[in-house]
Structure formats: structure tokens, C-alpha cells
């Protein structure tokens, strides 16, 4: 049984592993920090948030100051999906943002009886209905998840 824990991460309750919802990459022990299974890049924030006013003339420009702020991008090592982007001061340890009680999670889902991939939605309302099933089950691993999948996201 795989439980969608974020947009791109499952916890597989059978194997107790974090896995990528796009390509099935194994990020590690579900009782631990999924980030340990990612690739990380220290992004200069000015590359993402371009200046609106001229940085040659002004100190404050709409671009974050790289001496204050870095963007850590966490990628899936197999499919390259960016599963998290964390804004941190330079040198600050990455945040262990989620630690879950797997026994409790299992108990809850066993009590529920449904398939998490089918019953988890983005919230109440018709437009929040989605398909959070594994993309790797429906497409080839050659282009994991990024071509031809049939999920219903994007409804406005």
C-alpha cells in the first residue's frame, strides 16, 4: 500500500520506504528523512528571482540577497523532478521537514480500508479531485512520468 505524502512522494507501507511517485526511485527509510535520498543543489536565488530594478545601480532589486538567502533544490536522482525547494540562510542545515510515525500511519489506513492512491484528493470540491496514483505504473521508465500520463490534474 502506497500513501501519497506529498505531490511527489509516496510512503510504501509494505516496504516502509519513501519512493518517488513519478519514477519509483527509493529515497530511503520511511521512518527517516526523505531528503537523504535526494540530490541537492545550492541555487543562487538571483537566478530564479530576476531583478526588476537594475542591480548595478541599487542594492534592493526584487532579487533575494545571496548573502542572506539560498535556495536548496532537492531533486529525484532518477527522474530529476524537483520535489522540494527550501529557502535557507547560507550554511544553515537543511530542514528535516517531515518525520512520520509509520506504525500509526499503517493503522489508520488499515482502519480506513481504502486505497490511498485512489481516495486521497487535494481537498473538498470537485476541482480538488485528482489522481495521485503512481505515474510509473502507467508509463515506461524511459521517460518516467513526464509524457503520456493520464492523471486529471490541471482542472480549473
Amino acid at each position: 500500500m502506497r500513501v501519497p505524502m506529498t505531490e511527489y512522494l509516496f510512503i510504501d507501507l509494505d516496504t516502509e520506504r519513501w519512493i518517488c511517485r513519478i519514477c519509483a526511485h527509493d529515497f530511503g527509510d520511511a521512518r527517516g528523512n526523505y531528503k537523504e535520498g535526494t540530490l541537492v543543489y545550492d541555487r543562487d536565488p538571483r537566478e530564479i528571482h530576476p531583478p526588476v530594478i537594475d542591480p548595478e545601480k541599487y542594492e534592493f532589486t526584487f532579487s533575494p540577497d545571496p548573502a542572506f538567502c539560498r535556495i536548496l533544490e532537492f531533486y529525484c536522482p532518477t527522474c530529476g523532478t524537483q520535489i522540494e525547494a527550501e529557502y535557507l540562510p547560507p550554511g544553515h542545515p537543511p530542514t528535516v521537514d517531515m518525520l512520520w510515525d509509520i506504525d500509526s500511519l499503517r493503522e489508520k489506513w488499515e482502519a480506513h480500508g481504502g486505497n490511498p492512491e485512489e481516495v486521497v484528493n487535494y481537498g473538498p470540491g470537485e476541482n480538488a479531485v485528482t489522481d495521485l496514483s503512481a505515474r510509473f505504473d502507467s508509463v515506461s521508465h524511459a521517460q518516467p512520468g513526464h509524457a503520456g500520463h493520464t492523471h486529471r490534474e490541471g482542472a480549473h
Binding site: I53, S63, P64, G80, A85, P89, P93, V96, M98
Partner: protein, 777 residues
């Protein structure tokens, strides 16, 4: 200050608080304190507790007579109708700009002050803070011979140390009395703005002591047996810059409360006093029970979300707002340990009650918006803080711009909830990325074209960009985090009352987005200039000019940062009159092209203390964007080119961030090239990314960069150990230790530091050129 037996909530670990007295010793202390109390300040036994009160004997008696859920539902609906009616009265008649745009609330409370029901519109944070003043009144004034509580009385307060969202808000709290017993309270509270602080508008970015924060009204009886007390009213009017506002809105609140009271009177006549009391009490309890049940639906675990705030509003620093939320069954613990210390001469500190009030805002507006707005919503959630952190400021810390910390209390809960609830099969709200959380707005003050003294703020505060949802883009300039149905006002109406024009109003700024599979809602820019006034000035009260205020969610990016841009030494009205083609204003054009000869073009962070604005000088800011959701490379390319065509994003962002290839001129997406570009970008990520452990080994440092003025824990392994920057002299030094061990933190005046640097430079130059100058002190 009152000392009370075993009630001082020793969350700080202060050993004095932990000393328990014997009953005999406590009696002696109580007797001594009763006889010798200097004055009745904020009471920790009240202020450190957000839980609903236990049932009173009378409430037990009323409930014991039987509960009919349908009748209670009818009572709730009647009260909701009355509160909404009162809300609209305040909105329609209120003199405060905030009132006109829904920054207010009306409520019914139990006898002990728990909010039973709040108006559907307005600021929900009030549901978790106004029990404090009522408990203070009940504890201290009910049996006080010189005060007392009688039918027709009304109490006023604004000081957040006694329980208020922040000091700009002013209350009217009125008891419901039957047979000599207080059985409930009703109230109206409005963001009034001007409060006599060191700067106009009520939210001073420049306050350096609590006395700079302005009016410090503890709960006082402003209305006695139906009559507004002229002596106290005069004192309040005399204490602020806008006496007309004070008079008008006290009367508006009295009228609104009277309208609620009419419904309450009729309800009590219809259903009986006992049923009415039981319904109030049961509603509060029902909400608490339901919140516990919903916590139990969430997965057990811990979600951590740390925020870094880059400004004291006078200088750039980096201060942490730490938050770990742990769920165990039906328990939820919100732990802010690791949050930076209070800064004793800066305005950004927040009282604990104000910080908690915005946690309730997140819960009732973004987690479970279907629940009645009641004190019961936050009540079962345990909140751990360290007293004298900037989110739990002590009595002596200025709190003039406490929203800097308290809004982070909102973001902590709102942001973490996407992760907390994602896997839950039962949701009561959508998965949403972080909402924008800053006060990107102009405050203003001076003499109007009508000759009146005023101080207040623009409605653009309410134009915050919404966070992206998991299934659609965030909405542009949709609503402030504290009020879902607020208005950004009619600019032309405002210009009749205040002497400045918004020369650019509500124009979206290109690339002002939180990028993602779905992007955050955008913010707009504002350009203002005073006109036709003998004296006028503007302020800004915002952080987030160096470090993004909100991140994205699940791979999406956060908002950019926001500068303040000013052009001094020009009169834009003369320029436009001479050459109408110059009325082509945007922050980008004005600052980059510098088209006005003689202008002094400046950019700065968004903590601007009151700045005298001469006629026609330009002040420019932009409202903020919500966070993006999901991987940018999953964004529908058609949505990308639509934003590009509308100039919402630049070509650089469309290409480098979103990886889209299009036909210039027609904006037709080249699907194959886009797929190829994106595949290449994914491959590039894999190639440049470093395995986590290797990355941590190279990136993580033992402490912050040397030049960063940092406050808070570093990492999360030992949140009790804080790093801070201390100025023993003019040079900053880094200190560390537990909060109680740190020295008091006060930041030197930046002008003093600048003068010291300039004097040092003068000495260097004198030595270099051999000039002998006698410097007399």
C-alpha cells in the same frame, strides 16, 4: 503585576515560576499583594493561557436542564445573523479605513470570555485573543468598588499586552447581565489605525520602547450605564492624532454592539436564559471536541517549518521563527523553541497572545474554515514557546509592529498544514502553498487637504497574493491572510480624504510570482505622491527585501523580495503638467531609466520610518506574491506563454525557469522543443545535484556567516541553543546560549554606526594626507 498561586504557566523554565508555595504561604502572599499592588498590569495567569475555561457552576446548571441540538443550532444561526449585521454596521459607518475594508470583528462570548461565535466576515484572529481582556475585567473590575460591571457598561482597550491582535485595534466589550449575573458578553473590535504612537497610523516601524507604541489602554470602562464617559473619551482623543476617528468609531462600536444585544435580548426572551447560556457554552466545547477529532484524523508525526525574517524594520538582520508541529493521536503540539530572542529596542516583537491569535487565524481560515469561529479552535492545541523570544515578548519589549512576528505564527501553521494534511483522505480545505504574509502597504500621516490631522494606512494591505493551490494558480491580490473577504478599497474615494494620489495603482509587476507547476497569485505595484498638503509623510513596515518572505510548496518556488523605491527632489505633478508623456510610470522604468532630471533615486528595504514627503516626490512599492506549488517543469506550457503574453513573466523566466519554447510574436508553444528542453533541464539537475550527505558536508557550517546579524537556533538538532548578535559597543559580537543566558539584545542606532564609520574614514584620510586636525568633542 499580580502574583497568583500556581498559575504562572512556567513555560519559560524560570525557576522562580516553578517554586510552589504552601497554602498558608500563598494566603500570606495573596493578602500582601492585595494590600500593596501598585497597579494591575497584564496577568500571566490570564495572558499565557489560550484554553477555554472550565464550565462554571451556572453553566453546568444550565446544561443539566437539557440540550436540544436543533435549538442550539437555531440560536447559533440567529447569533451569526446578528453578528453579520453588526459587522456591516461597522463596515458601513466606521470612520477607520480598516473598518471600511473589513478589518474588524463582532463576537458573542461566554461569561468568562470564551468566544462562542464571530461574525462570518472579518478578522478571525480575534477569536483567540479577546477572552484575555474579558477575563481581566472579570477578575479585577467586577468586584472592584471603584469600577464594577453593570448593565449598560462598555469596556475599551487596545494594548495587546492585555490581549489584542495588535495595538491599532480598539475594542468595545459589553456584558450581558440578567438577574444581576453576567451571563455573556458581546463585543465589536476594529482596526482603527492611528493610536498616538511615535509615528502615525498605529503600526510604528520605528518604535524603540513600549512607550513609542502609542496608546496603552488596559481595559477601562468607557461606557457607564449606557453613557459614554466624556472624561475618558477626552483622554483617548487627546492621546492620538485623530480625535474625530476616536469619537466616531467608539460610537459606531456602541451602535453595533447594541444591535447584537437586541438579538440577544430577544433570544433570551424566546428560549430562556438557561438555554441561551447552555448554547454558548456547548458551542465552545463542541468546537474543541471537533478540533481534537480532526487532529486525530491527521497522520502522527512531526512537521518542521522554519522562517527567516530579514529586518528589524530599521536594519537588515536575520531572525528565525522556528516551528515544529507534532501530532500524536488527538494531541497537537506547536513548539516555537529555537525562535530568536526579543530585540528590546525594535518594533517587531509580538506578545504571545498575539502570536497565538494568528495561529487561530490559520486554523479557522485555512485548515478548518467550516468550524464556528470560537476560542475552542485553538484551545486543545498545545503551544510551547520561550518567554522573551520575539514571538513571546516580555512586558518591556516594544510591539508596535508585532505583525512581523505574529504573521509568522500564521505562516508556520498555514504552510506546515499542506504536509500535515496531504495524505489524509478527509480534508476540510484544499492543499495550498504559502499565502503571502507581509504588510506591503503605505502608512501615512499629516494634514489633509481638508485641514484635518490624520494617520492611517492604505487598503492595499489587503491585496496579498494567494498561495497556489494543488490544482490551480493562486489568485492575484486576492485577500490578506487575516481576512478572507477584505476589500482593497476605492482609490478615488480615498483620494477625497487624503492628500496623495496613487499614480500607479494595482499594476502587476512582471516576475512577481512564486513559480511552480501552479504559480502563486501575483502582487501589484503602487506609486504614490503627496499633493496639496502642508505636511505629509509615508512609512512602510515590511520585511522581506533580502530574504523571501514565503517559500513555495512541494518543489515550487517562493515569492521574490520587495524593495522600497523613492525619488526625492522632484515634483512629478509639475513634470507631468509640462510633458504629459511622462505619465508613464512604473518602478522598473522610473528607477532604471531615471528619467527625471535632478531626482535622487534610492532603493531601500521596506522598513521606512515616517518620511516627510514633499509634493510630487515618488514612493514606490509592490504587493507580494503567494508561493508556487509543484515542479516548475510540470507547468502547462500554455499557461506559461499566457503569462508571458500578458507580461506577467519575462522571457528569461519562461525559458530558464519554466523551460518553454515558443514562437515569438504568436506565442505558439513549440511542444517538441519544449519537451526536449525540459528533458535536458531535468538531466541537468541530475548532473549538478549532489548526493544529500555530500552536499550537507560541504554546505552546512557550524554557525551563520560572520557578517550576518543572526538570531535564533542554527539547524534544528538543539533548538534550545540560540545564536544572537550582541552590541556591547559599536561592533557586533556573536553570542550563544540558552535564551535565559543571552544578554539583553539592543541594536545601536544605525545613524550612530554610520557616523562612527565616517569618522573612522576621516581619520584614515587625515593620516594618509598628513593633515593635523584637532577634533573637539
Amino acid at each position: 503585576m499580580t502574583l497568583t498561586h500556581n498559575q504562572s504557566a512556567p513555560t519559560s523554565g524560570n525557576t522562580d515560576d516553578a517554586q510552589l508555595l504552601t497554602d498558608q504561604e500563598q494566603q500570606w502572599v495573596d493578602a500582601f499583594m492585595d494590600e500593596t499592588t501598585l497597579f494591575l498590569g497584564p496577568d500571566p495567569a490570564i495572558m499565557r493561557h489560550h484554553e477555554i475555561m472550565p464550565r462554571s457552576a451556572y453553566e453546568e446548571e444550565c446544561i443539566a436542564q437539557g440540550i436540544d441540538p436543533l435549538e442550539i443550532d437555531r440560536i447559533r444561526k440567529r447569533l451569526a445573523g446578528a453578528l453579520d449585521e453588526a459587522f456591516e454596521m461597522c463596515e458601513s459607518m466606521g470612520a477607520a479605513p480598516g473598518a471600511k475594508w473589513a478589518d474588524l470583528s463582532c463576537a458573542v462570548y461566554t461569561a468568562e470570555g470564551d468566544v462562542t461565535y464571530l461574525s462570518n466576515r472579518g478578522v478571525i484572529a480575534f477569536s483567540a485573543v479577546l477572552h484575555h481582556p474579558i477575563r481581566y475585567i472579570m477578575k479585577n473590575w467586577k468586584d472592584e468598588p471603584t469600577v464594577g460591571i453593570n448593565e449598560g457598561d462598555g469596556f475599551f482597550h487596545n494594548d495587546s499586552r492585555f490581549g489584542m491582535v495588535h495595538n491599532t485595534d480598539q475594542s468595545m466589550l459589553v456584558p450581558v447581565i440578567r438577574g444581576g449575573i453576567i451571563i455573556a458578553w458581546v463585543g465589536a473590535t476594529i482596526h482603527e489605525g492611528e493610536n498616538g504612537a511615535c509615528e502615525p497610523g498605529g503600526m510604528p516601524s520605528g518604535s524603540e520602547t513600549p512607550f513609542d507604541d502609542g496608546l496603552r489602554a488596559s481595559p477601562i470602562k468607557i461606557v457607564e450605564k449606557g453613557h459614554l464617559r466624556r472624561d475618558l473619551l477626552t483622554f483617548l482623543q487627546h492621546s492620538t492624532r485623530d480625535p474625530k476617528l476616536m469619537l466616531a468609531d467608539i460610537k459606531v462600536k456602541m451602535g453595533a454592539v447594541r444591535r447584537i444585544m437586541d438579538t440577544v435580548d430577544r433570544l433570551i426572551d424566546e428560549v430562556g436564559q438557561e438555554t441561551f447560556v447552555a448554547s454558548l457554552r456547548v458551542t465552545v466545547e463542541d468546537v474543541e471536541i471537533e478540533v481534537r477529532r480532526r487532529i486525530g484524523e491527521l497522520p502522527d508525526g512531526t512537521v518542521t517549518f522554519n522562517q527567516f525574517v530579514d529586518s528589524t524594520l530599521k536594519e537588515n538582520i536575520l531572525i528565525k521563527f522556528a516551528c515544529k508541529i507534532t501530532i500524536r493521536g488527538e494531541r497537537m503540539i506547536v513548539d516555537l523553541t529555537g525562535t530568536g530572542p526579543e530585540i528590546l529596542n525594535r518594533a517587531i516583537n509580538s506578545p504571545l497572545a498575539s502570536t497565538k491569535s494568528f495561529m487561530a487565524q490559520a486554523i479557522l481560515s485555512y485548515w478548518w474554515p467550516d468550524l464556528p469561529r470560537s476560542t475552542g479552535a485553538l484551545s486543545p492545541i498545545e503551544v510551547t514557546t520561550e518567554e522573551h523570544s520575539w514571538a513571546d515578548a516580555g512586558y518591556d519589549a516594544p510591539v508596535g509592529q508585532s505583525l512581523q512576528a505574529s504573521f509568522r505564527g500564521f505562516s508556520a501553521l498555514q504552510t506546515a498544514f499542506a504536509k500535515m494534511q496531504f495524505s489524509s483522505p478527509q480534508k476540510y480545505s484544499n492543499v495550498v502553498a504559502p499565502w503571502f504574509n507581509q504588510i506591503n502597504d503605505f502608512l501615512w500621516g499629516g494634514t489633509t487637504q481638508n485641514g484635518e490631522q490624520v494617520g492611517n494606512l492604505c487598503a492595499d494591505l489587503n491585496g496579498m497574493g494567494g498561495g497556489a493551490k494543488a490544482f490551480r494558480d493562486g489568485e492575484d491580490a486576492v485577500a490578506p491572510l487575516f481576512c478572507a473577504m477584505a476589500d482593497i478599497g476605492e482609490q478615488e474615494v480615498m483620494e477625497e480624504e487624503v492628500p496623495f494620489l496613487q499614480l500607479v495603482s494595482k499594476r502587476l509587476v512582471r516576475d512577481n510570482q512564486g513559480f511552480g507547476k501552479f504559480r502563486g497569485g501575483m502582487g501589484y505595484e503602487m506609486i504614490v505622491a503627496s499633493r496639496g498638503t502642508p505636511s505629509w509623510g509615508f512609512m512602510t513596515v515590511t520585511s522581506g527585501s533580502k530574504f523571501s518572505s514565503v517559500p513555495g510548496m512541494f518543489g515550487g518556488y517562493g515569492c521574490p523580495v520587495y524593495p522600497l523605491a523613492i525619488v526625492k527632489g522632484i515634483n512629478i505633478y509639475d513634470i507631468i503638467q509640462d510633458d504629459p508623456s511622462q505619465f508613464d510610470l512604473s518602478m522598473e522604468r522610473v528607477m532604471n531609466e531615471q528619467p527625471f532630471a535632478g531626482g535622487d533615486y534610492q532603493s531601500a528595504h521596506m522598513g521606512l520610518q515616517f518620511d516627510v514627503a514633499k509634493e510630487g516626490e515618488l514612493y514606490m512599492i509592490a504587493q507580494g506574491a503567494g508561493g508556487g506549488y509543484g515542479d516548475v517543469l510540470e507547468r502547462d506550457p500554455e499557461l506559461v506563454v499566457t503569462d508571458l503574453e500578458l507580461d506577467r513573466i519575462s522571457a528569461q523566466v519562461a525559458t530558464d525557469v519554466y523551460g518553454v519554447v515558443w514562437e515569438p510574436g504568436t506565442y505558439v508553444v513549440h511542444a517538441a522543443e519544449t519537451a526536449a528542453l525540459r528533458a535536458g533541464m531535468r538531466q541537468a539537475r541530475i548532473e549538478r545535484g549532489t548526493p544529500y550527505k555530500e552536499f550537507v558536508a560541504a554546505f552546512v557550517q557550524d554557525e551563520p556567516p560572520k557578517d550576518l546579524l543572526y538570531f535564533g537556533s542554527w539547524g534544528q538538532d538543539n533548538d534550545e541553543e540560540l545564536i544572537a548578535t550582541h552590541w556591547g559597543g559599536l561592533e557586533p559580537e556573536r553570542v550563544s546560549g540558552k535564551l535565559a543566558e543571552l544578554p539583553l539584545i539592543m541594536v545601536p542606532d544605525r545613524r550612530v554606526l554610520k557616523i562612527a564609520r565616517l569618522e573612522e574614514r576621516v581619520r584614515e584620510l587625515e593620516q594618509k594626507y598628513g593633515e593635523t586636525v584637532v577634533h573637539k568633542s
